[in-house]
């Protein structure tokens, strides 16, 4: 076994252990009096964050190892809702507005897209946004998802394609990961794209186009 495989195996185990911690924690929180619950909540929220990071690492590892994440019929309304659930554990005060028809349908890997969207939401919140809007529309056989916020917008080097922004919290990593996920949905006929831009009225805007 080489070092890379070993690291992969360890991250995998870490992720599973954290999952158990979360399940146990959730159960304990349900059973305890309210005043303790509030005290424990930050621990729980942090653990979930660490778990999400571990999930991200495992996925990253598999994406690079040419692992296959099969696409299937999926519904952006559901996917976005779950991304928001993950997001709001850490950012309960940021408002997220959703404009998606519940019947709007796409063809993608649900777990991957959820991670990508969670990353974009985290990015906006870390940049200082207070309100984030998410919309999705079918475009022929494809899908267009837009995440826009009222924050300061992307710094120039990000817009220039130098992913490493200097915001704390590893935004660069998040964007890189999101790009990988989007690229994974390319077909031989048409690429999937992630476009970053600053809106005319201010704020950052990320547009995912799936074939």
């Amino acid at each position: 076994m080489n070092l890379k495989d070993l690291a992969g195996a360890i991250i995998h185990d870490l992720k599973n252990q954290l999952h158990s911690v979360l399940l146990e924690g959730e159960k304990a929180m349900r059973d305890m009096p309210e005043e303790y619950r509030d005290k424990l909540y930050p621990v729980f929220a942090r653990s979930r964050r660490v778990h999400q990071d571990a999930m991200q690492l495992v996925t990253l590892y598999r994406l690079q190892e040419r692992g296959n994440f099969p696409a299937d019929d999926a519904w952006p309304a559901d996917t976005v809702k779950h991304a928001i659930e993950c997001f709001q554990v850490h950012w309960p005060d940021v408002e997220v507005r959703v404009e998606i028809d519940p019947d709007c349908q796409g063809y993608y890997n649900d777990s991957l897209m959820q991670m990508a969207l969670t990353n974009l939401l985290n990015n906006s919140a870390q940049a200082g946004a207070k309100t984030i809007s998410v919309s999705a529309q079918e475009q022929g056989p494809g899908l267009l998802v837009r995440v826009s916020d009222d924050g300061p917008g992307y710094p120039d080097d990000v817009l220039d394609g130098n992913g490493d922004s200097d915001k704390e919290g590893g935004t660069g990593m998040g964007l890189y990961f999101t790009e990988l996920i989007v690229a994974h949905h390319s077909t031989p006929a048409k690429p999937a794209t992630l476009d970053l831009q600053n809106a005319a009225g201010g704020g950052a805007e990320a547009i995912i186009t799936l074939p």
Partner: protein
């Protein structure tokens, strides 16, 4: 029904997970969704038992269940036995790293997947979407449950036209049903329709399978290989490729595909068995041994448990054993013997199986050249055979072979005679013929050895003429060994040197030397051969020949 009013009340639900926390978490989620009739199983065996006894509306199973069956095997048994109606749903819960192993099954695919970790709202939405789909598909699934497959295919066409968004799930079902009905052109059409808008791997495999059945094997093979490039862990691709390659007589290539499949998904008993059998035919005994060992282990608690798996494992292992006193040999031999013990125990009520196991035991000892133990197992097998009321011809022949292997040719001869008296079935005649040939060889070798001994004792007493007569008889058997031939030459040479120069005897010596051919330097008989050859040369020169 809206998502908010979605409710599982009154549905009979089975959840399957080996981890207690996961089970209780899932159960409480379902309770929140209104479920009031929930059963839970901790492993595949229990799950299948429940499915055999109850009519479930919904099964939620984890894919990875630790030991024993996995979720896919539960699904296969449930659908294969028709115990889970087509109108009922099977939802597979998978870890994020197992999704691509689960997605592709053409014949037995779950109705939906949920990827772990999931929350209540994820589960609610997944089940809600599924219930919408199942409602639309209801007339089609009813037709399937009534066995009216062609009608179901027709209904599917209507649904597809009315609900274009359901192209994928409907076409997938349609493809599967058409394959079942051997309507390969129609199946091909369904899969092609999907691929026109979505690059789904299952549709590509579906196309390939259709091409295979329609006779375009090359197209099928290249399509599957291309799919595997994109989707390397798509285990069913390897399975189908193996199946097609076997049909083309490419056993070794097929074996490589199954080896790849087993590497990805090592827990399927049937695949391990298939690999074992293929490897046995290909004489890849190490692969065969590993595959049967896995199959044996996996089948221990399943409906696939069979004595032949144990037997085939031991058969493969015998090929990998030899007389060397190495650790590997010892371990493997013990493993084989343990398997046979288990086989006897597990099937103790079946004397035929106990007989087979005891025979295999004798052959295993024979493989490491432990003749005493091979003989004692043969004796045990004889005892078991005597307790079988009406032994089959196969069993009698097997016993005969083992008699021969353990140096009991007289018993073998008697058994053959008994069988001939009873009358031998046609299909066994070839095997019987081979046994008789072995017996006549042994007989000849024994006779030759007897005459050789006689010659030696005459020679030692200086009765050279008698010695030559005995050796001449001994060498008349084709089976006479080099030592016997050398003895004959030596007797003749001594006679010529001590009694008279008999040219006929000298010519005999040359004939025998030619028959021996050459004797290698490392052969212990080399020096003797060389000496006798030189003596013959000298005698020939002095005779002026």
């Amino acid at each position: 029904m809206t998502e908010a009013s979605f409710n599982l009340q009154g549905q009979k639900i089975l959840i399957v997970d080996d981890l207690v926390e996961a089970r209780s978490a899932l159960k409480s989620m379902l309770t929140v969704l209104g479920a009031d009739d929930v059963y839970s199983a901790t492993d595949g065996r229990e799950a299948v038992e429940y499915i055999m006894e109850h009519d479930f509306d919904l099964v939620l199973s984890d894919y990875n269940l630790g030991k024993g069956k996995d979720g896919q095997q539960i699904l296969e048994e449930a659908r294969y036995t028709n115990r889970l109606r087509a109108t009922a749903s099977f939802v597979m819960i998978t870890g994020e790293n197992a999704v691509d192993r689960v997605m592709g099954a053409l014949e037995y695919d779950p109705d939906a997947y949920v990827t772990k970790p999931f929350t209540l709202s994820i589960l609610r939405e997944r089940l809600y979407r599924l219930s919408l789909l199942k409602t639309i598909l209801l007339p089609m699934n009813r037709a399937i449950d009534q066995g009216q497959i062609d009608w179901a295919i027709e209904i599917a066409d209507q649904i597809r036209v009315e609900h274009p968004r359901l192209l994928l799930p409907v076409s997938r079902l349609q493809g599967k049903l058409c394959l079942k009905q051997e309507r390969y052109e129609d199946a091909l059409e369904a899969y092609t329709r999907v691929l026109e808008s979505r690059p789904a791997s299952w549709a590509r495999l579906g196309q390939a399978v259709c091409f295979h059945f329609l006779g375009d094997t090359d197209q099928a093979v290249s399509l599957i290989r291309a799919t595997l490039l994109d989707h390397p862990l798509y285990v069913q691709c390897h399975d189908w490729l193996a199946k097609i390659l076997v049909g083309l007589g490419k056993g070794e290539e097929a074996q490589r595909e199954l080896e790849a499949a087993v590497k990805i998904s090592p827990r399927a008993v049937l695949r391990q068995l298939e690999l074992g059998q293929l490897a046995l035919t290909n004489e890849s005994y190490t692969v065969a041994q590993d595959a049967f060992e896995q199959a044996m282990r996996l089948a221990r608690y399943s409906c696939y448990k069979s004595s032949s798996t144990y037997q085939q494992f031991v058969e493969a292992a015998q090929h990998n054993l030899d007389a060397e006193q190495t650790k590997e040999n010892r371990l493997l031999c013990n493993k084989a013997l343990r398997a046979l013990d288990e086989m006897k125990q597990e099937f103790s009520g079946n004397m035929g199986v106990v007989f087979d196991a005891t025979i295999a035991e004798s052959r295993t000892y024979k493989a490491i050249e432990d003749d005493n133990k091979a003989r004692s197992s043969a004796d045990k097998a004889e005892g078991v055979l005597a307790r079988i009321k009406e032994p089959t011809g196969e069993q009698q022949l097997t016993m005969t072979e083992v008699y021969i292997d353990t140096g009991q040719s007289e018993k073998a001869v008697n058994m053959v005679q008994t069988m001939k008296d009873q009358g031998v079935a046609n299909k066994l005649l070839q095997r019987l013929g081979a046994i008789e040939e072995r017996l006549s060889n042994i007989n000849a070798r024994e006779k030759s050895a007897e005459l050789n001994e006689k010659g030696v004792s005459h020679y030692e007493r200086g009765e050279l003429k008698d010695a030559i007569a005995a050796f001449d008889q001994a060498t008349r058997f084709e089976e006479a060994g080099i030592s016997v031939l050398l003895n004959a030459i030596q007797a003749k040479v001594s006679y010529i040197e001590n009694e008279e120069l008999d040219v006929g005897q000298l010519k005999d010596c040359y004939r025998l030397l030619r028959r021996i051919g050459s004797v290698g330097h490392f052969d212990e008989r080399h020096d003797r051969y060389q000496r006798l050859k030189e003596t013959c040369e000298r005698l020939r020169r002095s005779a002026g020949l």
